[in-house]
C-alpha cells in the first residue's frame, strides 16, 4: 500500500532523528537547495554558531564528494551535453545528544583501499596534526585523482567535534558501498 510505504519511510527517518534526507542523483543545484534549507533550519532552531557552521560545512563537503566521486552514475552520450549524474545518500539529523551528517555512495573497488587508508590516517590525527595536513595539502596541490583541493575529509575531521566513523560493504565485482557518519 502506498500510504504504508510512505509512512513507514517517514517513521523510520523520524525515529533516527533525521531532519533532511536525500537519496538519488546529487547535483550542484540539489546541494544549493539543501544548503539553503539547512541554513534556515539551523537559524530557526538557534543552533550554536560553531555547531551550525560545522554541520553546514560537513554537508557541503560530503555532497560535493558524492557529486564528484560516486561510482554509481549516469552519463550522457559524448555528443550530447556533458551530463554526469552521480547517485548517493545524504542525511542530516540529531540523536539524543548530538547532530550528525551521514553520507553513502558507491566507490570503485580499486579506490576503496586508498580511501580507507586515508580515512584511517586522518582519524588518528589530533587537531594540530589535522591543521598541518590541511595546510600541507592545500599548498602542495591535490593528490592524484582528486577533483577538488583534496582536503575534504580533513575538513570534515576538523569540523566533526565528536568524531566520525566509516565503513565499506562489498557490492559487486566493480564497486563497494562507502558510508560515513560525522558527529558534531
Amino acid at each position: 500500500m502506498l500510504i504504508d510505504k510512505v509512512t513507514a519511510l517517514r517513521d523510520h527517518m523520524n525515529e533516527d532523528g533525521v531532519s533532511f534526507c536525500f537519496t538519488g542523483f546529487m547535483t550542484e543545484e540539489v546541494l544549493s537547495g539543501i544548503a539553503q534549507a539547512l541554513k534556515k533550519k539551523l537559524e530557526l532552531e538557534k543552533v550554536e554558531i560553531n555547531t551550525a557552521k560545522g554541520i553546514f560545512s560537513i554537508v557541503i563537503e560530503l555532497s560535493q564528494n558524492i557529486i564528484r566521486y560516486s561510482a554509481e552514475h549516469k552519463m550522457s552520450e559524448p555528443e550530447h551535453n556533458d551530463i554526469d549524474l552521480r547517485y548517493g545518500v545524504l542525511a542530516v539529523g540529531h540523536d539524543e545528544n548530538h547532530h550528525y551528517v551521514v553520507c553513502g555512495n558507491m566507490v570503485h573497488k580499486e579506490d576503496s583501499e586508498r580511501l580507507s587508508n586515508s580515512l584511517n590516517h586522518i582519524k588518528g590525527l589530533d587537531k594540530k596534526e589535522l591543521k598541518a595536513l590541511y595546510k600541507k595539502t592545500l599548498r602542495e596541490g591535490p593528490p592524484k585523482g582528486s577533483k577538488g583541493a583534496g582536503v575534504g575529509f580533513v575538513e570534515i575531521a576538523m569540523r566533526a567535534t565528536q568524531g566520525f566513523e566509516f565503513d565499506f560493504q562489498e557490492n559487486d565485482n566493480a564497486n563497494v558501498f562507502f558510508a560515513l557518519k560525522a558527529t558534531i
Partner: protein
C-alpha cells in the same frame, strides 16, 4: 587593470576589487559550483597586478561567513602571492573578518597571520549576517 565588482549570491562572495586605489574586498559565502570558473578570471589579473607593484600600499578585506575546502586553496594562493609582494617592499594589509563567535574562522585568521612574515593581518569581528 579594470575594477571588478561582483554581487554576492548564496554560493559565491561579493567581490569588490578597486585597482585604482589598491583596495580589494571579498565578502560572504564561498562554495561556488565551480571554483575555477568563479575565481580564475578574478585571480589572473590580481596576481599580475601584485607582481607589478613597487612601493605600493595594498589593502585586502576578507570577510567570510563560510568557505569550503576548495575555496581555501584559492585563499592560500592569494595570501602566498601577497606575502611575496610584501617581501618585495610593498605595504600589504589584510583585514580578516569573522562573525562574532565563529571560532573556526577566527582561528583560520590567526593561522594565516602566524604564517605571514611581511603581510600585516588584522582580525576584525563582524556581526552575524
Amino acid at each position: 587593470m579594470e575594477n571588478i565588482k561582483i554581487e554576492r549570491t548564496d554560493r559565491h562572495p561579493e567581490i569588490d576589487f578597486d585597482y585604482s586605489t589598491n583596495r580589494f574586498s571579498i565578502r560572504g559565502f564561498s562554495y561556488p559550483e565551480n571554483v575555477k570558473d568563479f575565481y580564475d578570471p578574478i585571480l589572473g589579473p590580481f596576481m599580475e597586478h601584485l607582481n607589478s607593484l613597487d612601493g605600493a600600499s595594498v589593502n585586502l578585506e576578507c570577510a567570510f561567513n563560510y568557505f569550503h575546502s576548495s575555496s581555501a586553496q584559492v585563499l592560500y594562493k592569494i595570501f602566498d602571492a601577497m606575502e611575496i609582494c610584501a617581501a618585495k617592499g610593498n605595504s600589504i594589509t589584510i583585514m580578516w573578518g569573522y562573525e562574532s563567535g565563529d571560532d573556526n574562522m577566527q582561528e583560520a585568521g590567526e593561522d594565516f597571520a602566524e604564517d605571514m612574515e611581511h603581510v600585516k593581518l588584522i582580525l576584525k569581528e563582524f556581526e552575524p549576517t
